[in-house]
Each structure stands twice: as structure tokens, then as C-alpha cells.
Symmetry: D3
Subunit: 259 residues, 6 copies
């Protein structure tokens, strides 16, 4: 277990880390069905795991994870209807993230990296950042936040370097080759390899339907092929992702590299 989680430290220990220049990483995940082989916390676990890898590379502490996300959408997450899915409204998700940010600022924090694990959260994190800026009322230039996600740091070259047979398209990565591999490297005890589903890439129409059209939902909620998932590829991918985020927070937020 990482020694960098704010909730596991005393308040004095957090204070010392802030004095030493630690930045804050805020992981944001979801409670969302990811097939029969992955837990509902998949996006949360990956977001926290990303933060832990980054905190090994730079002086950073990890805020309590936001483990609910925006409602799962048919074309990106398999649909919100699956039992156990818990999704927030846009307003509550943004208010929650913004209040965490503002409270950190009241405690003196000025540099935060928001690490997302659930695609549907993206724009509500953007709103949370705008909201936090407005509500904190700090002098211009004093506050700086960076927002990213593991898939933002991934490209064709990265995938080729990590996987024997890289996925044809990353936009349907939901409980598929990449997330399964990452989970095998991050928390293998929660991956049921005996239940790996068989899926092809989906052929969604170029629009959304509300309320969601249930005929678009498959049996498992996984959106793309899982075949070939393995811990080694997952670990390699996350190493590259963590290296790149570490570089970014050093460059953009002035994080201090660990030696």
C-alpha cells in the first residue's frame, strides 16, 4: 500500500509533505459494470493505481478518490442500467470535486493534478476546475491544475510497445484488452480470468438515444475484444503512462522528482 494516501496519514504528516513541496493528486473513478470478469470499481482502481505510480516518481500525496462518476453511457461504458452501477448528476459530481479542490486550496495547496479513470467524467472535471477557480477567488496565476487520464497518454506507438496485438480502436476500450490488462497488473485478485467475455468491436450509430435504447446493450457491458489481456502488458502500459504524467506534473506544476 502506498504511503502517499492523505486519508492514511495524520494531519500533521500531510502538513509536513505540503511544506516539502508535495503536490496533490486527485483520482476520480466510477462504480460501473465492466463485464463479468472485472469489478465495478475498475475505473476507480485504475485511477488510484495511476496516482500511486506517479507518487513513486514525484513528491505527491493522493487525495481520497472520488469513486462515483457520471452515469455510464451506452456508447462509452455499456449503459447505466446495470445492477450496482451508481452514477451522480453532473451538478453533484462537479460540486463534489470543486469543493475538494477549494478545501485543499484553503489548506494552502496551489498545485493539483486530477487523474481520471472514467471517460464519462471528463467534462464534469473540466467544469469542477472552472468552478473551483471561481469559488476559491485566489489571485490570478496563483493556482494551477492539470487534468488528464491514462488514455490521453496512450497512442499507437505506446500500444505497439506494450501489446503483441494492439487493439484496433481505443475509443471502445471498456472492460476490454487494455483495462483488463491494467487490472491484471494493478489488482489481479479482482480479475476473474475464467470469465473473460468474447466480444467484437461494436457498430454503434453516430448518435445517442435518451432514455438509452436497451437494444444497444450487450449481455456483459464490455465494448471490445478482451483477448490477449495480460498483466505484463498492463504493467508496461501503466509505466509509460505514469512516466509521462510525472514529466507533465514536473513541467507544469513544478513537482519535485524523487531520487
Amino acid at each position: 500500500m502506498s504511503r502517499h494516501h492523505i486519508p492514511q496519514m495524520t494531519w500533521q504528516e500531510v502538513g509536513e509533505r505540503f511544506e516539502q513541496g508535495a503536490i496533490v493528486l486527485l483520482p476520480i473513478g466510477a462504480n460501473e459494470g465492466h463485464g463479468k470478469h472485472l469489478p465495478l470499481a475498475t475505473d476507480t482502481i485504475i485511477a488510484v493505481h495511476t496516482c500511486e505510480l506517479v507518487a513513486e516518481r514525484v513528491d505527491a500525496v493522493i487525495a481520497p478518490v472520488i469513486h462515483w462518476g457520471y452515469k455510464s453511457q451506452m456508447r462509452t461504458g455499456g449503459g447505466h442500467h446495470r445492477t450496482g452501477n451508481i452514477g451522480l448528476t453532473a451538478d453533484t459530481l462537479s460540486a463534489l470535486a470543486a469543493e475538494i479542490l477549494v478545501d485543499l486550496m484553503e489548506k494552502g495547496v496551489r498545485r493539483v493534478a486530477l487523474i481520471n479513470g472514467h471517460y464519462e467524467n471528463t467534462w464534469f472535471i473540466t467544469e469542477a476546475c472552472h468552478r473551483a477557480i471561481r469559488e476559491a477567488g485566489l489571485p490570478e496565476g496563483e493556482l494551477r491544475m492539470l487534468s488528464t487520464a491514462w488514455w490521453e497518454l496512450t497512442d499507437d506507438d505506446v500500444l505497439k510497445a506494450c501489446f503483441e496485438r494492439p487493439p484496433g480502436a481505443i475509443e471502445y476500450e471498456h472492460g476490454a484488452l487494455l483495462e483488463t490488462s491494467i487490472m491484471l497488473s494493478a489488482q489481479p485478485d479482482l480479475v476473474h480470468m475464467d470469465r473473460l467475455p468474447q466480444h467484437e468491436f461494436p457498430a454503434f450509430p453516430p448518435y445517442d438515444i435518451f432514455p438509452p435504447d436497451m437494444s444497444w446493450a450487450n449481455e456483459t457491458g464490455v465494448l471490445a475484444p478482451v483477448d490477449g489481456a495480460n498483466a505484463k502488458s498492463g504493467a508496461k502500459l501503466m509505466t509509460i503512462v505514469a512516466d509521462r504524467i510525472a514529466e507533465a506534473v514536473i513541467k507544469e506544476l513544478g513537482a519535485i522528482r524523487r531520487v
Copy 2:
């Protein structure tokens, strides 16, 4: 001018159209800088133009356009700081769209297509639809909304069919080849061809910075090459887009095809 705009009809005329089976198209745009050659209303004009082309193909009426959108972001719209940009918070944008939807439902409407012209709006339209469903409280299965945007209906084949030299990447289309061509076909009097900017594709880092990093903003706010923009390509593109949306609303919303 299209004869299908709700605001230009009397309330009795709208009633008749509803009785004849007309569905409602809700265009959503933005007031956002699009370079020196395009007006701030570019996204709004394209959203309304799309609706007008669809209303020529199926029996549909067009609701008053939402001509403010979510704040322009550096990597997708050139940045919110440009003079004249007016952006809403996520909550007000979603509330506004949801209240329009709910009021239409109170007047008996059960089929709506939301036609977006501003990329940053996408997820707040999704929230508006979820919100409208919750607030309208209609029996399950009674309401059905479709949400899309011109770029969703566009792919490499379409671009090749329309442009001599199709753009290398569509994700940086902001005030560039495609939007300029569409505007030349939709409202040429607002396009300043004598001020066409010269831009290459940008090299944004794979993350966002809040407050936005002003060094990422170029002089014009256009994100990609404009070179080759012409009305004919724009018209051809929009014809394909409108045909496809018309097919979708016929299939999904039961819209009646005009003959």
C-alpha cells in the same frame, strides 16, 4: 428563411404541425471566437443550418436555438478568453436545455432531436437529456430523444467525397477547413475570405491546464489549416450530414419523410 422555425410561427400553426406528426429539432450552438474570418455565431449558424436541412427532408419544426454554449476550451475551441465569447456554466446550460425539453413535453411533444454545433456542449446536452427525463416524469417508453452533431455523421469516406484535400485530422476542426466551408455554403456574407488565417495542426500536450495556459493560445483561435475552404465542399458535406440525420430521425423517432 426556413418556414419551420417555431419562433416565426403562430402558436396555432405549431399546434397543427404537432398534430401532423412533426418532431422538434433543438439546435444548440455557441458564441465563440472562430478566427478573423468567421463570426462568433459560427457554431450556432451551423447548428441551425443543419436543422433547416433536416426540416427540408422530414416533417419537423425547429425550436429557438440555444446560442450560448459551454466555455471554449484551449484544445478544442481556442480558449474562452477571446473578446465576445460568452459561455455558460454547466449547470445553467443543462438547466436551460432541460427546461426547454420539459416545456415541449408539457405541450405534448414526445420526440426531439438535439442538434449540436459546438463540441464543448456535448456532455452537458447528455446531462440535459437525463435531467429532462427525470423532471418530465413521463411513463417509461413514452419519450425518446436523439442527440447528435454534424461531425458525428462525418467520416473519412465522407470527407474524401467532399474535399479535394480532406483534413488530416478532424479533432482540431475549429474555424478551419470544414467549418469555413460549411459557413461558405450556409451564410457566406458572414465569411471574410480576405482574412483567411494560415495555420498548421497544433501540438497540444495530452492534458488540460486550469486556469488555461495562455501560451497555448494562438493569435486567431483557429486550430487547423483553412486552406482549400469552399462553399461547394461545405454544401456537399452538409447534404450528406442532413441526409444521415434525416434517416436517423425517421428510424429512431418515427419522423415522417417529406415527399
Copy 3:
């Protein structure tokens, strides 16, 4: 078409106008039934038309119109139940106007005139101004807004000067002599002179009933006599209104008179 509409300008053009001292006019209308002879956008068209006439007289730019208003009330607008009417809640209407004002202030604007075309909006515009002041947090004395409507600038003498037979009472002016005349001068192609309704002044009781009592609603939604409506009187009335608003914005907001 007026050359002063922000949405039709580029962001650089708007910036230049601000540097030259242009103030911002924010028109606020409604989507509300106005009889069989006038479009749902009547109040919106009149609000925008007023702004255009003012922008001919003083250096001003016109913000995108708010074309939804507060719900039509029985005694002032014929009732919200008419097909095609779209009304917002008080909170969303005030938030929308306030966010537009605050965003303009963030772009450097300090002088705004809010020009209302829909009576039911009046107090929610007042709230929007209070809200904008609170949210903008500008130093005292730096911001100044003026709020008015065409009927505020009208009195018995004005009506006598414009109409052969001036209306007996202005408080029931909804789709009647004055609005029909103004529309004939502002956008005659949307007025159906062949469908002019015949109405007497109503005899509403001195209270409101909620939910509205449908027995109070007449067939058309017009509240007073239309007889005698003509473009010339409408144009004359709007000339006086625009002259007076121009004087007010020069005096109160320091607007620069055009020569």
C-alpha cells in the same frame, strides 16, 4: 441586418468596438403565443428591433438575444398553455442573464443596457442584475447597468402622437394594437393581416389563480383590441422609444452618440 450584432462579428471586431467605447445592449424576449396573426417570437423581435434602433443612434453592440422568457401569465400574456410557448423557471432565466452579464464583465464590459420585450421578464431581469453584481465582485462604482422596455418609454402623449385612436389602456397590450403595429414596422413578413382578431379589453378579476384558470383564456391569446394597427404608427412609436433609450444610455452609461 444590423452590423452591430456580436454573434455576427468576429471576436477581434468586438474587441475593437469595446476599445472604441461601445456599450453592450442585451435584448430579452420570449417565445409566447401572440394571437393568430403574430409569431411566437413577437417579444423577441421587438426587443432586438429596439436594440437595433438604439445601436443606430449610439455606439453599441448587441448581445445574443435571450429568446425565452418567464412563463406567460393569464392577465398579462394570455397564458402559458398555448402550443409552442416555451418558458423558463425564474431561477434559470435569472442565472442565464446573470451569467451573460458576468462573462461580458470578464471580457472588460462595464456598461450594459438590458432591453426587455416581454413584461413577465421584468423582475427576473432585476434579479439577474443583482446576481451579476454579486457574482462579478467588481469594485463599487465600476459597473453600471440600465434596464428598461419599450412600454416604459411610452405615455399618453406618445400614444396620441403615434396613433389616430390610441389604446384606452396599455396594461392589456398583448398582441394588440401596439405590438401589432410595431411588428408591422419591424418584421411585416411575419404578420398575418388577414387573421387580425377582434377583441375587447378584458375584465380580469384583481387576483391570479394557480394553476391558471382556463376559463380566463380566450381563443387567440390576444388581450385587447387590434383594430387600427399599422406600420407607420409602429415605426413612429419605436422611433420615439429608441430616441429616449439612446438619451438614457448616453446620460446614464456614457454611451457615445453616433454622428
Copy 4:
């Protein structure tokens, strides 16, 4: 003291009155400066007094008064800046009134008359009624509310019947002849007759300025002449007002006339 005030009754007594057919009167006032001679609660006292007079005429109970109102405006109430003025935002005022209405409905109430004493409240009461209808979710036709104010029931004939020299204009009645006379009949111990101000009718321009222009505010906050104020005229006026409201609640809400 009236025996009809809900707060002064036990919950069982209220239950009995509901069973006997009592409707609920909800008085809404303000805490707003009314010159040197009248208390800040003037509008509240008049609203409650109106309810008490109505409750003498029909079987009705009186809900706890809302004694804060919307912010005082320069042209209607002398301005919000005066010490001791306490004004709510539109949203909180409407939410407060709506929650009281919804709670009454949950206790079985279906007929409410809202009696306003502060002009600036008018449209936020309208919003509260719309909000209560939406939130209560009662079957159509089950709920019925009436909203009025003493000045709605007043006209030239009434004023002539009550006052030797009726006021020239009622729209500037703020702490002037009418309100002072009503207060002399309703709660004379709070009227300082030795401090009656001398005022002429004001000449406000036909628009509002935000933030309010302090040069529009006079020394006392009274807007019109007070001269001639007397308890007898006030009592006569309120008798007519109460008779008319009683008739209205009998006709519209089915209230039971006392014998």
C-alpha cells in the same frame, strides 16, 4: 389577537379547522424602511392585518407570515440600502414560499390564498406558486391557489370612498397616504405621527439603474405625499379590501362564509 393564526394554535386545533373546511391564508410582507414614521415591518403588518380581516369573514387559518421580502427597489420601495432592510434573493424567497405551500399540501391543504403586502414580492410569489404545483405533483385540478394584494383590490372609486383627498397616483404608494392610514388603523402604536415626512410625487426616469443610483434616494424612503393620513380612512379601505378578498376566496376557493 386573531384566533386564526396557525402558530398560536395546537396541531390538533389546526386539524379540526381543516376538517371543517378552513382554507389557509399565507401573508407575505417585508422588512423594509418606510420613512421615519413607520416601522420596518409595515408591509408585513398590513399583510397579516389583511389576513385577519379576511379570517373574520370566512373560515380560514393564517400561516406564519413570511416577513422578509424581495429587495426594496428605488422606484417602488425607496431602495434596499437603508439600515435594517433585510431582503432575500429571488430563489430563496420563492423556495421558502413554495416549501411552505408544499408542506401544507402534504398535510392535506388544497386551497391557499397568498396575501402580499410588499409590491416587490409579486413575481416571486408567482414563481413560488408554479414551483409548488410542480413539486407537489398533485393530480390536475386538485390544487387551487389565489394570489393578491391590498392594492389590487383598490381603484379610483374605492379611494374616493375612503379618502377626502385621494392620492393622485397609487404606483408611488410607499409609506405614504395609504400605507400610513392603513397602519393607523392596524397598529397605531407603531406609527410616529410626530414625524410625518413632507414629500411630493417623485419624477423617476423610466428605467432602473443597477447598482442603484443613490441620487434617486430621498432622505426618508417615502415616495409620495403622506398628508391627510388617518385611521378612519385606513380602516374603511381595509374593510373594502377584506370584503373583496373574502368574496374572491369564497368564489374561487370555496371558502365558507362566517355567519
Copy 5:
């Protein structure tokens, strides 16, 4: 009647009191059933009475009472279902109190004591204070509020000094020995001594059930024995409470002791 109630003063009189150093007392009560013998306003009356006693001891003015509180809970107030009970949501109650506080601060007030009479309000008053601090945006150290309630100032010694047979437990004091005695001293005309209920201390389970379990509610809503209630004990108790609050506001808020 106390001469210290803001609503009964003119705005100039309030201004003078502020100049002389008066602090503001804000009473917060409820409209909640208190048995067959006490009025729904019991908590409100006690809160106001406490303020009046404090205002006799120190230079203070009393703001208009908040006479709705948070919904009555089974284990502390007998349950919200009783006819005539009117309860607010947490958000509206906190917003209401916070807006009153913020408006007082805009008028120059910097020292407020919030005097609660309804146990269920406690934490929403805490939230209101946090909210007012945030919204007022005053420089650190400039604002200071004190929040308390009569039962906070009460302990075993006090009860022994006031009552022949002090209550066994104070946490079930709802319409029982203490509140009845206080009401007998504060407003005896609203106490029905001929209807005193007979109750033992309740045996509630150590949890709450939502929606409330109606089998937990007794017939009257009183939670503990009333036997022995008398005006003299009530008066003695409130004298001690008022003395202690007066000391606290002198010490903490710099209130000026009356001589």
C-alpha cells in the same frame, strides 16, 4: 412588548442603535406540534423570549424571527406528520438564515448571536454560519457570530435550582416539563393547562427510520413528563439562561451591558 425588535423600529432607529454598538440577535424557532396544551409556535416563542431577555441585559436589537425550522424528527420532536407542522428543507433553511446574516453584514453589522429554540435546527444553523462567512467575503477576523440555545446553557445544577423535581433526562424535552414551564412564564395565554398530557420518558431504539415509523409516534407529540410545570420555574430557568447568554455575548461579541 420589547422595544428592541428591528421590524418594529424605523430604519433610522436601527441605524442609531448600530452606531451605539448594538449587536443583532437572530431568533430561530419552528412551527411544530407540542402536544395538546402548547401552540405550534412554542419553539419560536421561546427563541424570541430568550432574545428579549438578553436584550434587557445588553444593548442588542432583535432581527425578525425565523419561525419555520427543520422538519420535526420522531426521537426529538414528535414527528413531522402532525397537522400544522411546517418544515423547510436543509438547503432553504440554511440559505434563509445565511441571506439574513449576509444582508445584515452589508448594512454594517459584524456581531450576531443566533438564538435557537428548535433542536432540529442546530446543524443547519451551523451551515448557515459557514455559508454567511463564505458569501460575505469579509476580511478575516472582522466578523464574529455566536450560536446557542436555551438548553445549552442548562445543566443539572440549573435544573435543580429551578425545579422542585427536575426532569430525569433533558434530551426528551419536547413539550414537557421545561418547555411548558418556560411557556407559562413567556406567554401563558397560549398554554392550555386543562389539557396537560400524561407521559413517561420514551424508549426509542438507538437509530432513526426513514420514512418515519408511525408506530413510534404517540398521540400528543409530547416526549416526556409534563407534571409539575409552573411559570415560576420557567421564569427562573430563563433568567439564568438569559444571564448566561448575556455574559457570553459581552465576552465573545463585545456587547455593551445595560445599566
Copy 6:
């Protein structure tokens, strides 16, 4: 690690548990300083630990913990100012809990036990339950929630049974004898026994001050003596607490006892 955590199960596994009659436990904690010897997550860990012990006794699944709570207060939690503390506004905390409850209801859940670990949360959990009832709109009697906390199930007899020297007062239990003992039994690796603070019971005045008076805050944030803390007493206490909650959820929510 408990096999009952929703986030660690697949969505199909959760569905099976629901079909078998499992109820949902929702733990609610805080991120709040608890002295030099306990982690910021103390209240969260205890809330989750309580749920895990209950889930060993009855068929129940555990929802993702809410690990932010209401702001720490001086007299109950040592104060919100301590580094690392993250607290939400009342509205966001209640909205968050209510949305989780409503989403569970949409997935078919009808029985939930809310297990609180942070005293300051109590009334905002109450509000969340009221809110969830209102928003879910389920038929009366269909939904039933139970809300409690470990200290509610504790009394003098329990403390005597568990501790050699039971604490003199439980209301100042914050990071003291009880919580330290519970943590030693629940997660000893996060307890720093070498840093146990020395504290006496505090002597807080009988009121709150806002903004908090920093002179009330001691160096560590612990409010009472820690001396004698040991894992065995903590485990015994939690066994009794879990037994009692298990009995309650069986009786009140129809939970199925494990055999």
C-alpha cells in the same frame, strides 16, 4: 478483505445478491484530523469496519463509502482548519448521499442502512434520507432506511463491559480512548502507539463561535483522554455494536441472518 463490497464485485454478482435478499449498507465517514496517532480516515475506516462486521452477521452488501463528511467542528471534532481535513458543504454532502440512495432504488433496492462514523454528518444524513424519499417518488411504504452510528449503540453498560476504565463522557470522544481502541482492532497498522497524546476532558463554553475561535483548538485535535486504549476493548465494543445493528436491520429492514 470483506467479500461484500459492491465496488469489488461484478455488476452481475451484485444482482445475484440483491435477488437473494441482500440489503445495502452505506458507510459514511470523513477525512478529518484525529491527533498525531490516528489517520485522517479514522471515521471512514470505523464506518466501513462496522459495515463489514454487520455483513458477517446478515446478508448485506456494502456500497462505496462516502469518505468526506461535514466540516469538523471545534467542540466535536477538533476543528476544520487542520491540514488534510476535507469537508463538504451541507448541500453537496446531502445531495451526494441522496443520489447514491436514489440510484440504488432505481436498481431495485428498497432497504438501506446508513452507517455513520463522523458525528458532524448526522443531520445531513437525515436530510439525505428525506431528499431521497422525495426524489425517488416510490409508493408509500415501499422504501425503508435505517440510520445509525457506533456511538448510538453504546451506553454505560457496554463501556463497562469493554473497558477496564470506561471514559467519563462519550460526547468528547474524538481520537480518544474509544476511537483509538476501535482503530487498534480494525486497522492497527495505521495507529501510531508511540505518539499517543495526553489530554484531559475539555471545558468548552456552551455555544459555538463562527468563524471558529482558534484559541479553542488544542495542539493535536484529540478531545479527551486516550490512556488505556487497546485492541481487545475496541474489538469487544465493535462486536456489541455490530450485533446490535445486525438485530436492528433484521427487525426493521427484514435482513436475513447468516448461519
